[in-house]
Symmetry: C2
Subunit: 346 residues, 2 copies
């Protein structure tokens, strides 16, 4: 009864915030609000959701945790190559050694059996995969991989890239349920690409194991910006609006491919997503030259494990894709290209 | 000459962003903008400034870095007790072992000589100090400490708390110059308290050593929100507006102290800052009861290394301080306090 009295008086009393001050009190409350929203969104326990500064923040939180628990100067990460450049930067930047399964020989398809076999042989400390793959859009069955890799290998499945083929919401819930309790399984994501919040740095790690979630929470005390949380919540409610843009970009690319200036890389199982891998038919010097003249910025293959005959494009701005297609298909007709290229060397 | 042609054409060409998409391109550019502003603000090289999610983000970035380089399951942190609760949570949450110099026996003064001696004896992996101390406001000479601790001990001086006594801007610049090149010296801060950006999670680590800065940059690839950077830059330009609020709160507390309900903890060398340590004269049960009834939220001493006869208050809202003072000085006259306290136990 005294508890009731106390609860009642608390309800009636104002909140006189002298503990941390209102901004921090709001900040702390918003972290909880965000985990409640993310938990509800995926149909998982809010206690298993960790707010992070985007998917990269989630990758780094897991990376730090794995580093701490493995306690080796150079833990190993098994991943596919080409893969997500920034995840690689994060891992290598903290001293992890990358073990690559190169997918180019299989036309960039991701072979689950080969990956599981490589995991069994190399016994990596961590396995990182983006689903769909960044930048090829290759998709794979994450269940086969999670079930197949050694028990002690931490697994990060990065579901941040939007696509019609992979419903990240359903997949996160299903993997969470199917592998509930598995140590060191992290389903990371963000609203960055799907809901346009990249500049807000807001994302999450959903932990299959609640003790892992407890540890990640204790290891990461800073929290993410209230304004970012509010923006992510608002946009999650509105739903994603990028699928149409991605489809428009792919339609332009497929049509533009007929012009003969480039080729889309299309693994057998793939999703149209926020990035696409392109193979140019022109020489690298010609490419650099035309991009330079037209102000086209791409990510070069050499930045993510291939040669520069490949480039990665972002697909959320079809207008830019159109400019790229025109530039590529203009190449065979541009007589000055060779000359300028030679001048640049001089 | 060809370089000039190329630069000229780049200036004239539009930016067709297909590399990461505009949001990420802006995000990456804003990290650089922020380090330029922070570098300019402090008069230090922008390359030695790392953007972080508040001072806590900076503490955790350094913590992770030290953990990585020391490669021990339980690295040690020397600090003072009482000290900043969240920094302690961050260190302990990652498995660090705290070595405390208790300041209560010296009326909460921080004795540089004792600290240096303890550092020499314990050889800690890291030394963390907030200047002014959180929550006592105790100040100390950081130069004596930095110069005195073992060379291999990483040093974090957290200058996030605003005060008139310590000019964080001048001090950061001076320490950076005086100890330029010292490995593992990090001057961390934020606009959280001084400029009201706590909810934006924006801060920095200024590294005395450029190689350390390079490593921290490589270890932390996520970046901080563009909106947070813009807000911090805007508010830094406007200047801090909290000193008047802090002074009002301390005036209310000094005046209220005469009522006999509580005592301000005032170390010999101290600054009036964003938090203050209070020692109550009433019993703990009475305190809890009056706080509960009036909706007063404080941080209890047991949460930062003392007993609950102490509480920490935030000082940026003088209106709340006034309510606290009234509550404390009403205590001896409240006849019902003992009764309710007994009922609560029943």
């Amino acid at each position: 009864m005294s508890h009731n009295v106390s609860a009642k008086s608390r309800r009636q009393a104002p909140h006189v915030e002298l503990r941390t001050g209102m901004p921090y009190a709001n900040l702390i409350a918003n972290q909880r609000l965000f985990t409640a929203v993310v938990g509800e969104h995926f149909g998982v326990s809010p206690d298993d959701c960790i707010p992070t500064t985007g998917a990269t923040g989630a990758i780094e939180a897991v990376r730090n945790h794995v580093f701490r628990t493995k306690l080796k100067a150079c833990p190993t990460v098994l991943t596919v190559c080409p893969g997500y450049w920034r995840a690689r930067e994060s891992f290598e930047g903290f001293g992890f050694k990358m073990i690559d399964l190169r997918t180019e020989p299989l036309d960039f398809s991701i072979d689950e059996t080969a990956l599981v076999a490589k995991a069994g042989a190399a016994n990596p400390d961590l396995l990182y995969l983006s689903l769909p793959n960044n930048p090829t859009g290759a998709i794979f069955d994450p269940e086969v991989i999670i079930a197949g890799v050694p028990e002690k290998t931490a697994v990060v499945i990065d579901l941040t890239l939007p696509s019609r083929a992979i419903d990240a919401r359903t997949l996160t819930r299903e993997l969470y349920r199917k592998f509930g309790g598995r140590r060191n399984l992290f389903l990371v994501g963000s609203t960055s690409k799907s809901h346009g919040t990249a500049e807000y740095r807001v994302g999450w790690a959903v932990c299959a194991n609640s003790e892992d979630a407890d540890r990640l929470r204790k290891e990461n005390r800073s929290g993410i910006a209230s304004v970012s949380i509010m923006e992510a919540i608002k946009r999650l409610e509105r739903g994603s609006t990028v699928m149409g843009l991605i489809e428009s970009s792919f339609a332009l690319l497929r049509d533009g491919e007929k012009g003969g200036g480039f080729e889309l890389v299309t693994p057998e199982r793939m999703a149209e997503t926020g990035y696409v891998l392109i193979r140019a038919r022109a020489g690298i010097e010609e490419l650099r030259s035309v991009f330079d003249r037209r102000g086209i910025h791409v990510m070069w293959g050499s930045e993510f494990g291939l040669t520069d005959e490949y480039v990665r494009l972002e697909t959320l701005e079809p207008r830019n894709i159109k400019i790229f297609v025109e530039a590529m298909n203009s190449l065979p007709h541009e007589k000055t290209v060779g000359l300028i290229s030679k001048m640049s060397k001089g």
